[in-house]
Symmetry: C2
């Protein structure tokens, strides 16, 4: 941690103390300039993404501040990963309420800095304001892909296999448990902790990016619920999909909730915050993709396939009946 500068406004001192240590990219100029410089390597495109998280909307105001720092960056890294991009750095725009004092900031910057190191994604620049409202962390993340290689939402073709990474629904159930302590008390502690952690700290599938670049025909991250996000991918690809619900990967903890609450399955399939990768792969590339994902240590499950037609994807149960969801995905509007 740098020393406090001997001059400058409170804002300058705050930036120097908490954020300069995260700004290791040479183009960040130690946050001492008004803007950052970034030069993509020859033959690479930049991939840009912005996503904000708001207290009381995307996280709880009393969540550990280091987790808030992690989540703010990771929701963006998840998008970059799904596009096949390697992180380059990020811009941070922070609206802080009065109650977020120095200990909050120190912990927030710790979490953010840990992830900036872990994912090799340094802070490039930022903006810090006071707000009379809830805390807002808005991050714009930048990554690189080989020229023209960004994995689009729109490339899925009939016959392609539909894959998801990891497990689906944990975070949405983690959120449900925080709002429903009665339900939470019926679970084993291990299951509760697992689901809570998945909501609090998503794990972006950064390691899967190279395999997606090589093999995926389309990809996106699952942030607003599997059913709705697959519908978005299908719309962008002018196609539809058939999904076998029995093949959707659920964690043991999620299955434990499902055994108690019959509505949990719908929450898992349509709830947000998974930050897993949803992708499609043409049949001749499936084996190579599976091998590349296994080498990267990312669990993958084929849950269905792309079919022709512009209707909504069908999620079928064991008897072949299509499940109808009340709301296919999370929307703020």
């Amino acid at each position: 941690m740098d020393e406090l500068p001997t001059a400058g406004s409170g804002e300058d001192q705050l930036i120097a103390r908490y954020f300069r240590p995260l700004a290791r990219h040479p183009g960040a100029f130690g946050l001492e300039d008004d803007a950052a410089v970034l030069v993509p390597p020859p033959g690479f495109d930049l991939v840009l993404k912005t996503d904000a998280i708001i207290a009381g909307v995307h996280f709880f105001a009393d969540d550990p501040p280091d987790s808030v720092g992690c989540k703010a960056l990771r929701v963006n890294l998840s998008d970059l990963a799904a596009k096949g991009a390697k992180p380059s750095g990020f811009l941070l725009s922070l609206a802080l309420p009065a109650e977020a004092g120095t200990s909050w900031l120190a912990s927030f910057a710790d979490g953010l800095g840990m992830d900036a190191d872990r994912y090799d994604c340094p802070l490039l620049g930022g903006d810090t304001d006071r707000t009379p409202g809830p805390l807002v962390v808005s991050i714009a993340a930048v990554g690189v892909v080989p020229s023209g290689a960004m994995v689009r939402r729109s490339g899925a073709k009939p016959g392609d296999a539909v894959f998801v990474s990891g497990t689906i629904g944990d975070a949405a159930l983690g959120l449900k448990l925080r709002r429903d302590p009665m339900l939470a008390r019926q679970l084993r502690r291990q299951a509760r902790d697992h689901l809570a952690a998945r909501y609090l700290r998503p794990e972006p599938r950064v390691e899967l990016a190279p395999a997606l670049l090589l093999h995926a025909s389309a990809a996106m991250d699952v942030s607003d619920g599997l059913a709705g996000d697959l519908a978005k991918l299908c719309r962008a690809s002018r196609a539809s999909a058939e999904v076998d619900i029995e093949r959707v990967p659920f964690s043991d903890a999620t299955r434990e909730v499902m055994a108690i609450d019959t509505r949990a399955s719908d929450v898992a399939l349509t709830g947000g915050d998974d930050y897993e990768v949803l992708c499609t792969v043409s049949p001749e590339r499936i084996d190579a993709f599976k091998t590349a994902a296994a080498d990267a240590g990312v669990p993958l499950t084929q849950i269905g396939c792309i079919v022709a037609g512009e209707r909504s994807p069908a999620f079928r149960d064991g008897a072949g009946r299509a499940r109808v969801f009340a709301t296919a995905s999370f929307s703020h509007f």
Copy 2:
């Protein structure tokens, strides 16, 4: 304006209706993907900047929404211009309270889109959330400069001339008048309107960027007050400055306020939101810089010069006395 899509969530429809028309950059993929692609031309660096504006902090919640859209982009374009960068595009992160309905959004998008066209700075991507708090518009703007040519804060040398563009203090006095109707009523209508407009819609000095690239030794935009921002430039350059207050360019409207309120001069010199350019130029380049600025149609005034030493810049009155400001610049902290 596009038609409403026939499918998709409320959020998708909102994005399609109000923001897709602004996303003319091919790398924005019509906002139908999760991320944007940007490729700087060979021999150019990208310059990145983020700045947010918050209702009740940087603008009034009842300001015309198109002005809010303009201001959100312009405060970022002002930074790019001061760095010598040409705008490439921007990411938009929007936290909307419930009371910002479709008519608010339509007007906001109008203002933003008008400026995206005017400054050739298309929307690349974005994120839209509901917030229980005040409206927050966070923009990350991207521009380009020839490799290694970004104009830094840190290049000022003793003997360099200190210039500012336009006039100083108008926006800070415009804000003061909105908070002090008694004072406002003492002014002619023309002066009131001028100062109000300068607060509501800053004019980024985009046309000055090429002249800065060629001739400035250091530059930044004046967003937190001339006195404080010059102190920042001097700190970054490990130098100091002497400013002649009588040479600081004030508008007729600002002089009208000064004639009524003796504290107005301090407000003008230390208040925020000017969005003019502050820069330094070595003596042998002064003539060429003035010519280039005149060709670009940007008024410029030499207000002082850089001197050796690491003390705060001195702002001297007609008698040579250094003015002591209570607060040299705006700080949120």
